[in-house]
Amino acid sequence: MRHPRVAFTLFEVAIAMALVAIAVVTVLVLFPAGIKAQQHARFRVLASAKMLELVDMFNTANDGNPSMDHEGMEPWDVPMAYRSRAFDLESLVPSHRSGVAPLPLAIARRFDSDGDEIATLLDEGAHLYYTLPHMTGNFDERALPNAPSSEQQRLVFAVTGYAQENGLYSLPWKSWPYYSPYPSPPYHAHHEGDWLPAAPAASTKFGVPENSAIELYLWEATQDPDVQIVMQWPAAPDRDISRNYGYLPYAYPSAAPLAYALYPTDAKLQRYAPTREGAIRYVQAALLYCRKKGLDASFYQPGGILTPSGDAAVAAVQVRALRFMAHAATCLTRWYDKAALDAGVDIPSVTIGADVTPAARYTHDVIVALHDNALRLCDHYCASFPYDWGGPRPIERAIMMDHPLIQWDVFSTPIPGTVFGDGRVASQWKPISGSPVTNIGRSISFPGKPLETIWGDGDNRHFSLAAPFAAEERCRQVVFWAVDWQGYEDFETAASAPIDASRYLKGAPERNADLGWMMTNHDWVDGEIWNYRNPEKAILFFDQDVPSLPTGADVAPWTLGLSGYEQDRGRGDVANRDSPPWIFSGLHGADRNFNQRLDRGPLPASSRMRASTIARFNYYDGRVHQCLR
């Protein structure tokens, strides 16, 4: 009898081995998954930190770029009209001062992501952003050490969801609010002298001896021609200084020709020494203005607190008159001591041309009362009539409510026109405000242009800034991905992402200027135009030969932020690859890890990478500019 065979068949062994292999492989696979989970956990920490900073920079950073032109004859003539200053995270935050820059588009296009989200965003015009390597602290990059390795740079992020229509950063025709000290003399400003579209109808212009290209002019007279009386009366200066009345002959007296000192230094102070008689003539001019406005002694010589007017037009005039009167009368305290003033300083009535000034008596207490009333009535006027632009707002009390709510009326018939200095056709919706703007007057930059016709049809249903809204309407999302983009061979030599044209510093219209001139001929005061630069500005290469340097080469001498900030400014020949337009656009790449060496990763540009989704953060997307603290 034969025993049956009792051994595993080969098939059984194979099955057993397969089971063992599956078990082992499963265990082996779990470990890398664990590592990946740890890496994701780290990126989530880094993303949380970055999101905190984004929200902080979005909501607390001052977004003033004071060396920008904020006014034009038409809205498309100034770059801050809408896009560059829109209160959207991706408009305001990306800059070298906020530590955020768009990733080069050539690199961003190589990423695969869940649901092709990155590709979809890029197709819709969004950018993918990365964290600039140095800390975000408003420090001059030249003073900072090389940045140590930061895995934060492996995070890229984008803003999803659509931005809403925002309130205007400022009205491009007239960048209201205008601010003035209270009390103060008539509002005057300097101008290059090329009045567009025409010289203002009512405005005194004054030469500046030190710079004949600049004229000073009396802007406030464009709103009320009688203001000329307070500034200088008669308007044409008399060579005999004793026959000139007003602020200018007092503050900056001179023989012929009447001159104006823009920056009074010691030497000029002696050259233009004011006199007591000049102060009295200034007071007499202010008194004449009050009389012209129908204001009696209770205003120009108050004994107590005045009652604010409930009529905007009346209130604006009263506020203006008191501003001048208080400023002029206070000058007397330079020439009379308190004892003399307590006794009363008589200001005699005089005849100036066809006008007779009222007589008045000023004491210390009356001057204090004038000052008090100038402030009080101004504050009441501004609080009561936020949409009346008949008087500048007090700079000592600059508050949120000074800024009117204005948006583009997207249901209006667009304003047609042409780009100044270029002739190309342009158009823009009309603006609409929360309440009708009254006494709009003229702008400081282009006082020859009437502004009454810029508004929409007045259908307030088109105004939505103050409308109720659901929470989800103002919710957008920042999505973070992790991807080792610095592994690419061209991660430092790739060109910057395309920059929105409104990011380029552009001057307002000038006479005889073409668009090219306006695009290039202006001062680049870097600290004051920080949002009008390539966001990679501080790390840009400015030499066309840098991309061909050997890996590891020292690039500090050719990095913009380390070398003086000047190579990307102004006009240049686009055929010359080292000219400013190339550098501004970042076409030579950037030291994107800020180690001051030229780096190249191991991966060819032809390869693709998988970007892993790390985190999503919802945030509140406001529609009007705000700055917390």
Binding site: V13, S48, A61, N138, P148, L269, H327, V368, I395, G527
Partner: protein, 391 residues
């Protein structure tokens, strides 16, 4: 009958079977070894990442915690209260209040209380600081055109707006400016704002001043007139002809921007366009109260107009509050350090946290930084009841 053999014929493994068995065994051992090795390596890497992540999270949380509670600057439980000191070295010369110059955490009552000459104490009531049109006490009333070299051609704004309840305005003759006396025993129209401004600079320094004042405040106020300097035994300051303390217009303690010809009253944005005022809590904070008080009133250029790299790095070191989170860690563990820098520049409060991780095994270093939200200085002081005047 022949015996039947019941034993099975003996059969050994064939060579083929043996070879197959040995091969299978070897394969299994190789697979198992490779698996174990990979598992071991992955486990170690995972453990290290986990440790680093935990430390990184700890650094992040420590930064947030510091932003919220300011314990690195002022921790009474730990005895770290250097920023509560009072510099009384110059009390007799230029301090208007009680004992000297304070630091950001000096209790209000220690320096600013019960003055017989000056009105009020710190009044943080929102209604007192309201911009309401009827609240004229909170209104700045000075003259913007009053630069360092003013000749007061636009008048004596010190009579509207002053720190003193009664005032003498003597003759003035300095710097090519000559002015007659205005008079004695003058009662300025408003004193509250100037008192608050001067008091805050004295108690808290300039970072604290900016933190406490409303965002739209104008930085300058008017003081007692000592054009030739204060007499011995009296407090006071040099002032310009208008009455603005010279130290606020020029010199290292100024609160004005770079343009020398524009040394006039300014908003905080303009005053810090390239400058910074910091909270000097760094590790090299001097124990000497006078030196520390001076640092809290110094302006530092940190952005290009006149930037000096050494000065900027020195500022970062003085401002950076550093904390080693794992001083007792095993020597092979990564070390994590958190720095928190608080300063004001470009019209913004910077709360900059830097977390650094150094691996002693690999020698690798990494860091990340962020600006975060946190409690204001005023909030931190209120947590500690430092603004109270209660006995």
């Amino acid at each position: 009958m022949p015996a039947l053999s019941t034993a099975a014929p003996r059969r050994a493994f064939t060579m083929i079977e043996l070879l197959i068995a040995v091969s299978i065994g070897t394969l299994l051992m190789v697979v198992a070894f490779a698996g174990l090795r990979a598992a071991s390596s992955a486990f170690a890497t995972g453990q290290r990442l986990s440790t680093e992540n935990a430390l990184m999270r700890a650094g992040f949380i420590a930064g947030l915690d510091e932003l919220d509670f300011w314990k690195g600057c002022d921790d009474p439980a730990d005895g770290r209260v250097a920023l509560r000191q009072v510099d009384d070295s110059r009390a007799a010369q230029d301090h208007p209040l009680k004992d000297g110059l304070g630091q950001p955490f000096t209790p209000m009552a220690e320096v600013w209380d019960d003055s017989t000459e000056l009105p009020g104490r710190w009044e943080g009531d929102a209604q007192r600081w309201s911009a309401h049109a009827d609240n004229q006490a909170a209104r700045w009333r000075g003259n913007f055109a009053e630069c360092m070299d003013t000749d007061c051609r636009f008048g004596r704004y010190g009579v509207f707006f002053n720190q003193r309840a009664t005032l003498d305005i003597p003759a003035y003759a300095r710097d090519n400016v000559a002015l007659p006396a205005y008079g004695a025993a003058i009662a300025p129209r408003e004193t509250w704002w100037c008192g608050q401004y001067r008091g805050l600079t004295s108690v808290l320094g300039y970072y604290g001043l900016i933190d406490y004042l409303p965002a739209n405040a104008i930085h300058a106020s008017y003081s007692r007139f000592y054009p030739e300097g204060p007499p011995a035994g009296d407090w006071g300051q040099y002032v310009n002809a208008g009455g603005i303390p010279v130290e606020w217009l020029t010199g290292p303690w100024k609160v004005h921007s770079w343009a020398d010809s524009n040394r006039t009253p300014m908003t905080r944005y303009r005053a810090t366009l390239g400058y910074a005022y910091g909270l000097m809590a760094g590790p090299d904070a001097p124990a000497d109260a006078a030196a520390l008080a001076a640092r809290h009133r110094e302006q530092t250029t940190i952005l290009h107009y006149g930037t000096n790299g050494d000065i900027v790095r020195g500022f970062i070191a003085r401002v950076g509050l550093q904390d080693r989170l794992t001083p007792l860690r095993p020597s092979h563990w990564p070390e994590v350090r958190t720095s928190v820098l608080r300063y004001f520049s470009l019209g913004k409060f910077f709360n900059l946290c830097i977390v650094r991780l150094a691996d002693p095994v690999s020698g690798n270093q990494t860091q990340f930084s962020f600006n975060g939200f946190g409690t204001t200085l005023r909030g931190a002081r209120q947590q500690r009841d430092l603004d109270s005047y209660a006995p």
